[in-house]
């Protein structure tokens, strides 16, 4: 009898807890949506996924957009450029973010994709702030990434105090748009040569920056939007006579910084409704201000 009673007690208590939890959750949802809500308009939600480079722009823009449009719900997830293009092509998301243009195979598979340029970007070479290096030649970077140079002492001006000066080469994973640009694009660094196999691979810009802040001897490449005080971005020059150009917004906008590219959002056919409005918002002066706040470069 006792045991049975106990079980009943357990079940009842469990149910009460569940119920209370559900009410609490429901209550909180209410308070979450309340501020400034216009009750009669239907809630609208769109999904955005893709490149981790474009993600902070979309995220911040979405936050700003939703602040003035209380019924819009913009869900943003990463994944990478390949995912963004695939999912917008398959219509599983409304907007696909990409840090690269469509490849030939993608173009034939998803002919309906419409390209929207949302920002310009430079890829900055970054090292740990402890490294005394002031600038680097593009050819040296290529040598580092192909494994020909393995010590900072072989790089002019570079020195990492309190270490054995070994270079830790950090790159992105094989599916990344940033890596593809760096490895193969004409404006990139490696121009088709495969990088050294001992390169540590990270799956996002943030992860590269994170590792560099933790590793004194590291070098990596991130989109300039991810250059923060925790890492040192290196000016780059091409040959001995030219001056080093810093990866700044002005230099990307003017084209003086060589490793630059455009960032895209893709939609399946011409966008309408909330999707069109949101992309329009990002491309508007207000949206482009967010682009600049995030460290990227405005379209024009």
């Amino acid at each position: 009898m006792n045991l049975k009673l106990n079980i009943r007690l357990f079940v009842t208590v469990g149910l009460i807890v569940l119920l209370a939890g559900a009410i609490a959750v429901a209550g909180c949802t209410d308070t979450m949506q309340k501020p400034g809500a216009v009750p009669l308009v239907q809630k609208q939600s769109i999904k955005v996924s893709g490149s981790t480079t474009v993600l902070p722009i979309a995220q911040k823009a979405a936050e700003a957009y939703m602040a003035t449009h209380p019924n819009a719900d913009i869900q943003i997830s990463g994944g990478g450029s390949g995912v963004g293009i695939q999912q917008s092509g398959e219509k599983t998301v409304d907007i696909g973010m990409s840090s690269r243009d469509l490849k030939a195979t993608e173009n034939t598979k998803y002919p309906n994709l419409v390209k929207h340029i949302v920002a310009k970007d430079g890829i900055a070479l970054v090292v740990n702030p402890k490294n005394e290096i002031r600038g680097i030649q593009a050819a040296t970077v290529a040598d580092i990434y192909t494994g020909k140079i393995t010590l900072w002492t072989q790089v002019p001006g570079a020195h990492v105090p309190d270490t054995n000066n070994q270079i830790v080469v950090i790159g992105r994973d094989s599916a990344s748009g940033t890596r593809e640009f760096f490895d193969t694009h004409a404006n990139g660094i490696l121009k088709g040569t495969p990088p050294t196999k001992s390169m540590l691979e990270k799956n996002s810009n943030g992860a590269v920056a994170q590792t560099i802040t933790q590793t004194p001897g590291a070098i990596g490449y991130v989109s300039i939007g991810f250059v923060t005080g925790d890492v040192k971005a290196l000016p780059v020059w091409y040959n001995d006579s030219s001056a080093a150009v810093a990866p700044t917004r002005e230099n990307v906008l003017s084209g003086a910084y060589p490793i630059n590219r455009e960032l895209f959002m893709f939609t399946n056919s011409q966008p309408s409704g909330l999707v069109a409005d949101f992309i329009g918002f990002i491309r508007s002066p207000e949206g482009q201000k967010i682009v600049e706040e995030e460290g990227f470069v405005r379209i024009s």
């Binding site: 006792n2 079980i7 981790t52 997830s77 599983t92 195979t105 270490t163 691979e201 943030g206």
Partner: protein, 659 residues
């Protein structure tokens, strides 16, 4: 014994109520019984279906790469360079990485685990036992992403500065983390094996004047050897399928360490490759197929390992029952014969490892001391030998406890300042650097409860069918085997299956329901096992009594068998909830988004989840220090809280059953 009274009293009124109907509805009653039986049979098939679909979809999506590159080339190719032209998909280097990291983990975990197991089963006073067992279960309950987080922030930094190497993201870091994660599995199964040795052996040995250590080392350990072997193999299996922790600390460079024993080299494992590349890859490409190929290989490896362990454990159980003695002696002979070469090999590896890691000035003295120890070992008096051995065992226990303490105190000390009402009730802002984690907490709860809602009926039904409706037959054996297989499947493989089947094939998209089903499949075997165990513990006489009174099978199950079994089932379920709440790999491709403003309003919406949020904060968002520790702490508290409920409940009912 009030148990008996209660149930019989209950079934009394039931019988009187139903008796008049029997003649009228005997046929319909029979039909109802048949329907019920069929339903349970179908739930029992769910495990088989799950394995079938997992295999089907993994093979289907990996087929292009096997056709194109050929399975041999895929396995032995040494270059993994999917973006090259032409792209190269050779996973040999990844297999080597996986094996190395896992072996390293075993070198670290096996001595510690066996020391702990000996201590708990033979030496510990009751209070220490009562303290250690929950502590080790706690170690098992900590989510793998929390281990990875700790490894990334603390361990890699310690390794980098200690060995003065450029980066701490190494094979060594991966092995230590995996070793810690394999500890609970090895400890608990070895401890079971040691305590299953018949008392007479121990008493006999002590009676002829052997010391306690002689008894342990010459009698208990050899008798428990096959159980301990199985424990190590299961730990190995668990470590090989682990994703998040390894991915976060091994550096993921697809190279074979040079030289091969250089434990300070970065490596890349099969699971790590899936974890970092799967989300980015273009669906349907060769690269995508190659990743599914990796999942197939990974599944094959873990299945082989787990099957070996299960076979050994079953043999052990049979021997306990007194049957099948011959096979075991052959096995023991084999082990005995292999012991010497194995010990020599092991020693050789240890020596090399010491020389490699430490500078010569430290390595030589260490080796001299070890050599001296080996020489005097046999000349020590039994009493001194015992003291030395117990010192080592105590050291092992202290190390394990210290690991737990260091890990918890680091997360608690750094995480507490982040905890506030706002942190728990607000949405994240500025990529999670500011704001709170409310949607992630709710998302995790949704995922977990959905998973349990999915898995509980299937699991309980399957167990009822296996225990109550059938005797051992080919069908039940197949079902049991598939449950074992499902149990050994790495969580990242569930994630890939969820992606291929639920997200793409059924077109659910990245959604709550896809995550719930994936997690549900993952915890299904745990629930089936727990239910089976608690049903087995119900005395057969109760069933016979009920059936003899004229109750149908279903009435017996529903009224007599299930009620006392509920505590056991609930404990198993709560443990599954804890496990599901901490998992990252199964949901990261199927259910979660980086950030979201509203809570999900339907099952097709994606959600945020605590483990994934922690993973993103730890690896992708520099400068989120407070919030990531806060997230880690909340996740830890959530999971540990769930486990604590289960543990308390279990001990409560165990006491009740005994008293």
């Amino acid at each position: 014994m009030d148990l008996n009274n209660g149930t019989i009293e209950e079934s009394g009124p039931l019988r009187t109520r139903r008796v008049p109907q029997i003649p009228i509805s005997a046929q319909s009653r029979e039909r109802k019984e048949k329907v019920i039986k069929t339903v349970w049979f179908l739930t029992a098939l769910s495990a088989i279906l799950a394995i079938f679909f997992i295999l089907l979809f993994l093979l289907r999506d990996s087929l292009p790469i096997f056709q194109q590159a050929g399975i041999v080339q895929f396995l032995v190719g040494t270059t993994w360079y999917p973006t090259g032209s032409p792209p190269e998909y050779g996973i040999f280097v990844l297999i080597v990485g996986t094996v190395l990291v896992t072996l390293g983990a075993m070198v670290f975990a096996v001595p510690l685990s066996i020391g702990c197991a000996i201590y708990i089963s033979e030496l510990a006073p009751l209070w220490a036992k009562n303290l250690l067992k929950p502590a080790i279960e706690l170690l098992a309950g900590i989510p793998s992403v929390v281990y990875g987080f700790f490894g990334l922030i603390v361990l890699t930094d310690v390794i980098r500065t200690t060995f003065d190497i450029p980066t701490g993201e190494t094979w060594l870091a991966g092995s230590i983390l995996l070793g810690i994660m394999a500890l609970p599995t090895i400890i608990s199964i070895s401890e079971d094996a040691i305590s299953m040795v018949p008392r007479e052996y121990k008493e006999g040995s002590l009676a002829i004047g052997a010391t306690r250590w002689q008894t342990i080392s010459q009698v208990l350990i050899p008798s428990a050897l096959s159980g301990i072997t199985a424990a190590v193999i299961l730990g190995f299996g668990r470590a090989i399928g682990e994703t998040m922790a390894v991915l976060m600390v091994t550096g993921n460079a697809a190279i074979i360490p040079d030289p091969i024993w250089n434990i300070l080299s970065p490596v890349r494992t099969l699971t790590g490759t899936l974890g970092i590349e799967m989300g980015e890859v273009a669906v349907g490409s060769d690269h995508y197929a190659a990743l599914f190929g990796i999942a197939v290989i990974l599944l094959a490896i873990t299945l082989i390992i787990n099957t070996v362990a299960v076979v050994i454990l079953n043999n052990l159980r049979e021997r306990q029952m007194g049957s099948a003695p011959t096979r075991i002696t052959i096995l023991q002979n084999l082990i005995a014969r292999l012991r010497r070469p194995l010990v020599i090999c092991g020693l050789f590896l240890v020596v090399i490892a010491i020389i490699m890691i430490a500078p010569l000035s430290i390595a030589l003295p260490t080796l001299v001391v070890l050599g001296a120890a080996y020489c005097v070992k046999d000349r020590l008096s039994p009493h001194t030998a015992e003291q030395v051995a117990f010192c080592f065992i105590t050291a092992a226990v202290i190390i394990v406890v210290l690991i737990l303490v260091v890990l918890l105190q680091d997360i608690i000390i750094h995480g507490l300042p982040a905890l506030s009402w706002e942190f728990l009730t607000q949405s994240p802002k500025d990529l999670g650097r500011a704001g709170g984690i409310f949607p992630a907490i709710v998302g995790s709860l949704y995922l977990v409860f959905g998973a349990i809602l999915f898995a509980l009926p299937l699991g309980v039904g399957a167990a009822i069918y296996l225990i109550e409706y059938t005797t051992e037959s080919t069908v039940t054996r197949i079902i049991r085997t598939t449950v074992d297989l499902l149990n050994g499947t790495p969580s990242i493989v569930f994630g890939l299956f969820g992606l291929a089947f639920l997200v793409y094939f059924l077109n659910f998209g990245v959604s709550l329901i896809a995550g719930q089903i994936t997690l549900g499949l993952m915890v299904l075997p745990t629930i089936i096992r727990a239910t089976e165990e608690s049903l087995k513990n119900i005395p057969q006489s109760l069933r016979e009594g009920s059936l003899a009174l004229g109750a149908t099978r279903w009435q017996t199950i529903y009224r007599v068998v299930l009620p006392p079994a509920i505590p056991g089932i609930m404990t198993g379920t709560i443990l599954s909830i804890g496990r599901a709440a901490g998992e990252t790999a199964p949901i990261m491709f199927t259910a979660v988004v980086f950030s979201q403003r509203y809570l999900p309003s339907s099952l097709t919406d994606p959600v945020m989840a605590l483990p994934y949020h922690l993973y993103i904060l730890a690896t992708n968002v520099p400068g989120s220090s407070t919030n990531k520790y806060g997230t880690a702490l909340v996740l830890l508290l959530l999971v540990i809280g769930i486990y604590a409920v289960a543990i308390v409940m279990r001990s409560h009912f165990q006491k009740k059953m005994r008293g």
